[in-house]
Amino acid sequence: MNKRFLLPMLLCMFSSFAVANEAELDHTPIPTDKASVLRGAEQVITVCGACHGMKYIQYRNLVELGVPKETVDTWRGDKHLNSAVQPGMDAASAQAAYGVVPPDLSLMALAREGGVHYLYSYLMGYKNENGEVKNTVFTVTKMPDILGSATDDPKAREEAAAKAKDVAAFLNWAADPHGEDRKSLGMYVLIYLAIMTVLFYLWKKQIWRKVDAMGKV
């Protein structure tokens, strides 16, 4: 019976993820290269930053990421390098203008089912329906179509898509800034464990050889 109940066990573990998303998401690959992340940083800080803050990202983190110090200086104005990235608009005026306080973006790439694909689909999800622009992914959103994804012009839509990918790439970094370190360390750990496990297996065979020779009980 040995291997027979491993699969059901694994399926049981994954059953909680089998829940379907309500809106179909666009699973266009989101880049992870440095250039995209840096372009995304500029988008998020200078455009999204008008309304959204990032309480877990400090300006110095952006310098560490690779944004030139002078650029960060212009972004932060008189705020300290150790200050969290603040929204350009305070919560009260945002509430007055949009009827909702724009959510913090630090963890946005992890805080929605679908992760970066949700973010991309959402940013690209605006549709022009009889002169009224609506989002098809998050229908009750108060956020206007910042990237202009509701356009009919294929070229403009492509530009919006490129920006949306960059934004998703940066937010992915922001939600999980040690992600790259984690994966590279993980490779070494798994290689080490694989070698160790093979050695243990051979050692086990060696120790058990006499018992194995006795045959079945």
Binding site: M1, N2, F5, P8, M9, L11, C12, M13, F14, S15, S16, F17, A18, V19, Y56, S106, L107, L110, A111, R112, E113, G114, G115, A175, D176, P177, H178, R182, K183, L185, G186, M187, V189, L190, L193, A194, M196, T197, F200, Y201, W203, K204, I207, W208, V211, M214, K216, V217
Partner: protein, 402 residues
């Protein structure tokens, strides 16, 4: 020098005796790899304790800072992300390993006499583990933490006469709040040490009755081998294989077991669209939801976990062991496992008319497999004896008892 020091200790404390007993502990030589999961559960317990203690050095149990302190651990503490992902993945690994350990016990009939106390102490460990995991899940103070704790503590409203009071007493407040968080934190730190103690009892019971084996028949002396080096090295190999899977998740898919909604700080004013417990509670949660009445649901859910304890009495066959010689028992086992998956699925999806019916049928099947076991095992016994062809060791055992 060392010998003299050891002799000095041994006169006052049974150190050599203990080491010798543990190393020479007699173990059947035919245990397969399903028997590795007990030691793996011990390993995960150690991982959880060590990472947990280090996390506690940086975590803050206060509703205003708890969520932030997790992000502080994830971003600023050196290798804090590793500690946290090891701990969050470790919780799932713990249940996965324990469920497989239990499934092995059920499949091979290891719960049967004389191992009832071993099985029951294991049952106690499962309850402690569930309580610990449930309280730990509140600590990140995300949306799912908050609402999960709110829903589950609310179940105690079903207590006769004192329902309202019990809920307030558990939460320390009229709703899940700071008082709840601090007490869950205190207990989440305490419980693992209670678990360590319970594991000791589980191991003492094990060393008294010794390991069962796939045949279900006690082996002859020549087939018993010392635990060390045979099972120490076999367990080491198992540990290696387990760690590859475990660290594979920790390093490459650590958010697989963290609900997206739990990356949003707890907000008592806003209920998430769909409250789901962690995967390891889903089948029991499905049973809870399948009973239309709250009190009935709570009783059914409690029974669904506790009913395992009755297994030694429900299984009335005189054919030794579990599924190896017993085809009907084997079918029942696989029905049970498949049904568990159905319940898990039902627990995970938002309730619709269809899933409610499926859940109710699966709940009936769940309890049905337990309650039909006395009849099925008896019928199976007479069928097998009449059919013949049982191994000599089994016939010998039956002959003795006849």
């Amino acid at each position: 020098m060392f010998k003299r020091a050891l002799a000095w200790v041994d006169e006052r404390f049974p150190l050599s005796h203990f080491v010798k007993d543990t190393a020479e502990y007699g173990t059947p030589r035919n245990l397969n790899y399903w028997w590795n999961f007990g030691s793996l559960a011990g390993l995960v317990l150690v991982i959880q304790l060590v990472t947990g203690i280090f996390l506690a050095m940086h975590y803050k149990a206060d509703i205003n800072t708890a969520f932030d302190s997790i992000q502080h651990i994830m971003r600023d503490v050196n290798y804090g992300w590793l500690l946290r992902y090891m701990h969050s993945t470790g919780a799932s690994a713990f249940f996965a390993v324990v469920f497989i350990h239990m499934a092995r016990t059920l499949f091979y009939g290891s719960y049967r006499a004389p191992r009832e106390l071993l099985w029951w102490t294991g049952q106690g460990l499962l309850l402690l583990l569930m309580a610990t995991a449930f309280m730990g899940y509140l600590l990140p103070w995300g949306q799912m933490s908050y609402w999960g704790a709110a829903v589950i503590t609310n179940l105690f409203r079903a207590t006769p006469f004192f329902g309202e009071h019990v809920v307030i007493w558990l939460r320390g407040d009229f709703q899940v709040g700071d008082a709840t968080l601090t007490r869950f934190y205190a207990l989440h730190y305490l419980m693992p040490f209670v678990i360590v103690g319970a594991v000791m009892i589980h191991l003492i019971a094990l060393h008294t009755v010794k390991s069962s084996n796939p045949t279900g028949v006690e082996l002859k002396e020549k087939d018993i081998i010392p635990f060390h080096p045979y099972y120490t090295i076999k367990d080491m190999f198992g540990v290696g294989a387990f760690l590859i899977v475990y660290f594979g998740v920790v390093f490459f898919a650590p958010n697989m077991f963290i609900e997206a909604a739990n990356n949003i700080p707890a907000n008592p004013m806003q209920t998430p669209a769909h409250i789901v417990p962690e995967w390891y509670f889903l089948p029991f949660y499905a049973i809870l939801r399948s009973v239309p009445d709250l009190a009935g649901g709570v009783v059914a859910m409690g029974l669904s976990v506790l009913i395992f304890a009755a297994m030694p009495y429900l299984d009335r066959s005189r054919i030794p062991g579990g599924a190896v010689y017993r085809p009907f028992y084997r079918i029942l086992f696989f029905i049970f496992i498949a049904n568990m998956l159905v319940l898990g699925y039902v627990g995970a999806v938002p309730p619709t008319d269809k899933t409610i019916v499926i859940g109710q049928i699966a709940t009936l099947v769940y309890f049905g497999t337990f309650l039909l076991l006395p009849f099925i095992s008896k019928k199976e016994e007479s069928y097998l004896i009449k059919r013949g062809g049982l191994p000599a060791a089994v016939n010998e055992l039956l002959g003795k008892k006849n």
